[in-house]
Symmetry: D2
Subunit: 338 residues, 4 copies
């Protein structure tokens, strides 16, 4: 009878944060063939213990985890306002980092950390970049399937708004929700954005407006060469999670449609009704989260992160510009660095 | 043997202009059960004669046609810069009018004609309002299928650009092409537009830029209550004629997709390839043109035109506002009259 | 003022039968640029007069119409049991014939007429052969888009059953409804059918069973080279008119999907609901009926009918074989003539 | 620091067979929160060792595994001709069983084992019953979404044929491939099948015919109450893995469409090309295999298997009947037991 240890030879990682997204990453890390989850860290002892029990790992403190030479990487899934702090600590300990988006809510604070994180192997988890359909769209663009990209439409509608308590600490629609779309736009436009115009309003829930936020927006971006992008956001679609992209080029268009929960359709006298869209991001992007962990495994093996700290800062800059545009009613120019 | 005259009892109409769209209207009028085509008028004698022969009617002059008491209505399909003149002549003669869009290329000139046309029974042929799918979408909105309308996306992409010679006399993208979408937006938003922002560029053909026009645009509209609309235009899609609408409301969305030429699809190893979209407007809106003639028949019977002179002026105002926004790089406020 | 006669130079036709399908053909013939409708014949004087008035033509008798040397062709839209008689009369008078399907309800009677009709220019109106989507599918097959055709699925489901009074004189499901699918199968399989097996039942309405008919069937066909076809029929789908074809070959598949009334879809929490299918054959095949008239115009100009008497007999033979298979519970072999 | 053992409290299972499907089950069992994989058994020591290493478990012999009181269940993924033997051994040891389909290739042999397996908790892995879309379709049927089920179409086309060496030991198309569809038909028709008619041929590869097998089939089933089903099979579609179901009832239809690898589509002048279908069963049914393991976990907790030994025998009886029908050219009657 052969009894190998399945843990050997696979780099160990620690997870900070046992919330909703932390639990997703914990499961993916625990079952990943090329890494092993060793520690779970959460200020709430019950949360940490439950997660540790679930995956047969240890609940511990950040200090212990970072001091463990066996730990090659850290997954930062703490609350957004602690992302930078945890990244800086992990970087100081020489660990590879997988940080949830956004890098922070303040461009200024983020820039201040740039020096200390310059040499860190930091992978920023913009999940849409790892969605199979979005990746296939990008490959089509890169393969020249539609000639030169001219304009881009991104539809990103949430099924229903979060509680207002969440809205209040979210950083606002542009930094909390559009941040994904700014990153997707940057990734696909493949050149610097030089102008942002945002038309936005509170149409969904007056309580969101009372919290000084908006819930509906149409944002226009323009790049140096003249490419244009439209981003459409709402906190409440009323029809599920709507995540589509259309890219228009000199030789045609390429698009990603929504994913339905099943392919069942009922045909009746009133028409055909198909299954609703996959709802919500934990389902829609389940495969993207697994692909993120694959990428982090590659980073642990020495590969360069495909999306990093600077991407987080750029997306944040676009979010701040959109906020200024909305506040002033004017388009906002950006320096357009890469 | 009974030999009835098929012309009796049906109101007679005259057609001005035997060009592309004039020929469509001629065919629809000639075969319409509730009207009879009596005259065709065109400055080019051969054009007039050919069309007259085709439908077994008389080629004549505008004077004779307007002087004929049997003529109940006039279809104005002359070049755009003569629309107003012909409408005014027909109105002076007391005829009902079916005028092709746009009413004119100048808001100022159009407004100057407002008094003389105030009492005319003038039906302005914005074809999209008569498309079965767009009508069905509007009925869904009116029936409350998506609750309160919040935002609107209109995609209107031409397959390929017209000759630059056409561009030069077209009035520019906003008055020539977006004019349709401005009207559709007004029709669906169902309240006055108070703000227009246009981001536009010449991306398709430098010759269009050299002619001082643009070929690609994203236009944002906002209404008094805060509804928003996005219009996307390009003179060249590279994939056919793209005519889609998505309306987002408090309780869901309603959309109109493109119409394919056939429902054939080929499934092969590389995926499934379906038939291209109907291409171009003569096919895509063939049924709309027939429905326009049905509506004109109703106008001849005394019904109020569902879209008229004022709608033409409003659409033109939006086009001019978009032009100013593009020129200044700023949003443009409108008075927001109905 | 030029007053051409629109009737000159266009061959004149007479229509026999002012029922539902007769009225469709009357409208298409009357507005066709390459023929002129001259006479309408119907035993019911009111029916004939109404149709004559509608199109400004003469209601007359068959004798007068056939005696008129100006009449080049006859459209036979009489009741099925008079098709053969009218075809024989028209053929004797040397007229081209456009006969509605089926040629008759009896193979025996039809064969008896074969000699007299051998030299007639008889076009049999199997409308599906003129549907743009079905034609596009056939062109794909002929162009080798799926390599060698191996099997074929034809779905032909009616929305709701006709009155039992109709069922009783219809000739039964196979001769009344499947006849279309037998013809489509022959047209696409492109080789003789040598075996028929029919599994059928009365599942929709017991009154149909009481009238000694069936309302639901699955029919298998096999050709000499081994190609197979499945035909699915029901008199009542409960979801509209279902008219689909899938052809499977050595290199892929080609299929025709249903046509929806509009392209509108509503997205709500329960899923997306699109518009119902076009319903019923007068709408679904409106364009096919127009294309049939185009073909008859070509026949009037001397072209060979693309589908004729022999095709009508072959389809009837398949219907009779299906009936025998259902009655005996056994597959039925056919001689497999072309 | 808390160090729980993740193995505790979860029932342990052993896997027999480290082939393609065995590896899938191994992965699903190893990462399943409600069971733990303890042993892997395979006659090939390298295969067993590799799999054991992959999941950190022991490679051992069947005797040791069955003798281990900690083992609650056995997953039988051995070659088909050993399924029965392994099931009997596991049953004798009092273990719960998850056996891959088919239960055997011989109805006779399977029936002979019925007594010994009568009391075994045996779950037979017909994967299609666990596919989310097929399950959703069945729920719609059960919820009355289409009234009374009348007929059923099952399309099950493989992308490309297996090697002829596989064909030779497969038991033939009906027992190897159609067996799935017979089970799906039984599951959905929800009443005994009383008649089978099979039209089949070797159209894909003459080598399959030389091996005395067929590669293309259309099979008709009829139930006692008159429901009918059509099954379509081919060993080579040329367009990927085609797994569709359409169920037609008194009040409409419900259908399951194929699953595409991504939702990307490219729109060009020739039409729109969408991504290919998921290809092949390891991808298409990945979620079904996970759901099977969920069900086996429930069986380990004491739940009744939802599909068992008797279902395997019934499906095999239908396969044998189809073979007789093909051989004799006649429909075959079945006793129609439940």
């Amino acid at each position: 009878m052969i009894m190998p240890s399945r843990q050997e030879a696979r780099p160990a990682v620690a997870l900070i944060g046992g919330g909703r997204i932390g639990r997703i990453h914990a499961g993916n890390a625990a079952s990943h063939p090329a890494m092993s989850l060793k520690y779970v860290i959460d200020p709430n002892a019950d949360t940490a213990a439950a997660l540790a029990l679930r995956y047969g790992v240890a609940a511990t403190s950040l200090e212990i985890a970072l001091a463990d030479a066996a730990i090659a990487g850290v997954i930062v899934a703490s609350p957004t306002d602690q992302h930078l702090t945890h990244c800086l600590q992990a970087a100081a300990a020489g660990k590879a980092i997988f940080c949830e988006k956004p890098i922070d809510l303040s461009v200024e604070r983020a820039r201040a950390a740039a020096g200390a994180l310059a040499k860190a192997r930091l992978f920023l988890g913009f999940n849409r970049r790892f969605d199979p359909s979005f990746r296939a769209l990008r490959r089509k663009l890169q393969a020249g399937a539609i000639g030169n990209l001219e304009t881009l439409h991104i539809i990103s509608h949430d099924p229903a708004p979060p509680p207002v308590s969440y809205i209040k600490v979210s950083g606002g629609l542009f930094k909390d929700m559009t941040i994904h779309d700014f990153d997707v736009a940057r990734w696909l436009l493949a050149e610097p954005v030089v102008e942002v115009y945002a038309m936005a309003a509170c149409l969904v829930d007056p309580a969101i407006g009372a919290a000084d936020d908006i819930d509906t927006a149409k944002v226009l971006l323009r790049t140096a060469s003249g490419r244009m992008a439209v981003i459409s956001n709402t906190r409440r679609s009323g029809y599920g999670y709507d995540q589509r992209i259309e890219a228009f080029g000199s030789g045609g268009a390429v698009r990603v449609d929504n994913v339905t929960a099943t392919t069942v359709a009922v045909w009746g006298e009133e028409g055909a009704t198909r299954a609703p869209f996959q709802n919500f991001f934990l389902e829609r992007y389940a495969e993207a989260y697994r692909a993120e962990m694959d990428h982090f495994a590659a980073v642990l093996r020495g590969e360069e992160p495909s999306v990093g700290f600077a991407d987080g800062v750029r997306a944040l800059e676009l979010a701040e510009a959109a906020g200024r545009s909305h506040a002033t009613g004017r388009p906002v120019a950006l320096s357009g660095g890469p």
